[in-house]
Symmetry: none
């Protein structure tokens, strides 16, 4: 992004504190029965008060028309171009279950699968074995396989037939072919290096699979091998401390968002489960940091389930509890979503997301409620999500003049 060329010249460290609240999947679409979106249907006096006192707008998560996953959507909010900084699928899977990664690790997504004696793939998902069975198998594998050719192997259950694997050691490379034939009835592939530098990693994984198949062959389970894909190392991302001179913390309950926050250098408050926990944590760590990323998951989950009433209730719960942060002093508070998750679509979507930024250094507009349609007329206009971080830094007076 062009703005990154300017950033280094202008950014400075100050005492002011920024709070970025991400209500996951915030935006929606009108309920065909009422003609109103989830935000338009909810009673949310506190969010509306922020809208009235702040500058409002809409944010395009990645690019017009493009529906983002949580990874790219959050990178955008954190001010990183999500097309330039793509996070590998393996890394996201590992993030999602809270596995820690170091710079030289390779993360891999795995599916337990059924093969016959001739190594023909019979079921690419091993009959979607229950998560409990997955956990039992993984615990056996963990016990028996710890290290291959000097490379540490870390295995963890995701759910049903899915698992994540991290390889930790020297000279590893993610440039590998998958062993998944993509269709049932075809022979299981070998892991092959796509670049010469990946030959050693391929050898490690083929030996790993040989051992896995040996162990599974005598267990009472449909899982007889693992299909491996999404090989990836940590993306090259300049951390918040270096990029923005910020000292950031993540307050979230779901592993995925904690993982994403770690990728950009945030400290993470652990052990949080509810919004109450999160709001209390914000008070607890208030003095230690200058950038606070608070993530609220329920809006997205309800949207994914297509449950209009639950999404409204999630917005209302947040609205009520957010009043508890009033004693904390933030130079800038931003409330937005990482993307929309309309109940109507039961999935993430591309629709621009409402944003409000409250700061004494911004002009409040006449938007009176935090909704998709009201924010259309906000003073911030419709902007790229990557712009938000720059507006937060500017509004908290953390930027010097560019040029003379």
């Amino acid at each position: 992004m062009k703005i990154e060329k300017v950033l280094k010249e202008v950014v400075k460290k100050t005492e002011s504190k920024i709070l970025l609240i991400v209500m996951d999947g915030l935006g929606g679409l009108p309920n065909p029965q009422t003609g109103k979106t989830e935000l338009e249907s909810a009673s949310k006096p506190n969010l509306d008060a922020y809208a009235r006192s702040g500058a409002c707008g809409l944010s395009i998560p990645v690019l017009p028309g493009i529906t983002p996953g949580s990874g790219p959507a959050h990178l955008s909010l954190f001010g990183y171009d999500p097309v330039e900084h793509q996070i590998g699928r393996g890394v996201l899977e590992a993030c999602g279950i809270g596995m820690e990664m170091t710079e030289q690790d390779i993360a891999i997504r795995g599916n337990f699968a059924t093969i016959d004696k001739n190594h023909t793939v019979i079921d690419r998902r091993a009959g979607r074995i229950p998560t409990e069975e997955n956990k039992k198998i993984v615990s056996v594998l963990k016990d028996k396989i710890k290290n291959i050719k000097g490379v540490e192997v870390i295995i963890q259950t995701v759910k049903e037939h899915r698992l994540a694997i991290i390889l930790r050691g020297k000279n590893l490379s993610p440039y590998l072919s998958e062993n998944d034939p993509q269709k049932e009835g075809l022979p299981l592939g070998k892991i092959e290096p796509l670049k010469e530098e990946a030959r050693f990693t391929a050898d490690v994984l083929n030996e790993f699979l040989r051992q896995v198949e040996g162990i599974l062959s005598i267990m009472d389970t449909k899982a007889k091998t693992i299909l491996l894909r999404g090989f990836s190392g940590l993306p090259e991302i300049e951390p918040f401390q270096k990029k923005y001179f910020l000292n950031p913390v993540c307050i979230a309950s779901y592993p995925m968002y904690k993982g994403l926050a770690k990728l950009v250098g945030m400290d993470v408050v652990n052990g949080l489960e509810t919004l109450d926990d999160e709001i209390k944590a914000l008070s607890d760590v208030y003095n230690k940091y200058d950038f606070f990323y608070l993530h609220y998951k329920k809006t997205d989950s309800a949207g994914e389930d297509g449950d209009f009433n639950r999404k409204i209730a999630a917005i209302e719960e947040f609205d009520e509890k957010i009043s508890r942060i009033k004693h904390l002093n933030f130079e800038v508070i931003c409330i937005t979503g990482d993307h929309s998750t309309p109940c109507l679509l039961k999935s993430h979507s591309w629709h621009p997301v409402p944003v409000v930024i409250v700061s004494k250094n911004l002009i409040p507009d006449d938007v009176e409620t935090l909704t998709e349609r009201a924010c259309t007329r906000g003073i911030l206009g419709t902007m790229k999500a990557t712009d938000i971080m720059y507006l937060l830094l500017a509004s908290s007076l953390k930027f010097e003049k560019f040029g003379a």
Copy 2:
């Protein structure tokens, strides 16, 4: 464009149908007498109904302040960056009169010009000879010159002193200097190769001109040679089928728009003259395609002529007749212009163009009429014209999620 990096990962084929209606030169400027633009002056209940039920905004044809020709303006609407994909002048001229081109052809714009015995250019437009005279000369030239050095030569009248030429054969190159001295009283130039690969093409054209001058020297006309310029081959454009997995069709009456549509891989319905023809054609081919580009010319022609009342009438005619498509089911309908053509300027202009997109997967805003000023407040905001195609694909649910 950055979005093209994402497109391949997300685009998918579905059954849903998209209708893109281009009212050429749609936007305008206020009439100094009434203070109202053409769109604000027209009675257009059907277009306003689309505005009420759809998501509205404004579209910047190419770049802020830049007035586009029809070529770049349409490429934008079709989702191609018109600065990266420039269509040569020769190709546009050939498109404009419906000449068919193949990949190895070179298209050239020509002016009949008057020269004296010493090859000094006396009149660069041969006294703007009437189109009829042009046609007569071209028919003689066609008869006598068919092939030079194995290269087929195809000549066609444009109008007055203008013509278009296509060279068809092997080893042709457009890297050539023009023979036009730009000023009268200067000697006619030679066609010179600008790259070594173009030497053969220069030889063909110089021989072509020698033969043309021989034929014209004994005819009773001011046309005594041809000034050649705009040498160009077909641009490298990924067709709709490959880029978007769409099966597109063009419904237009003017050759230029049919030609532009062909450049991006559209099928073309031929033999259409009026808007009635076009609307009937839309019904006729409805089952065969999933993307329909319908072009309406009269709004632009009236704007170019500076005829305020005729442009209003053109909008009203369209408004009345568009009601006939109501029995057809499109997942997404978009109505916009390729650029503005304000009667006040009697020419294309840079002004953002009103857009409405109607889809159950978009939030209708409270814009109640399709005009420049009303659309300013639309939920789509002011966007680049190249974004429109991506919004149409998103709204018809032809995109998967980007990243996880």
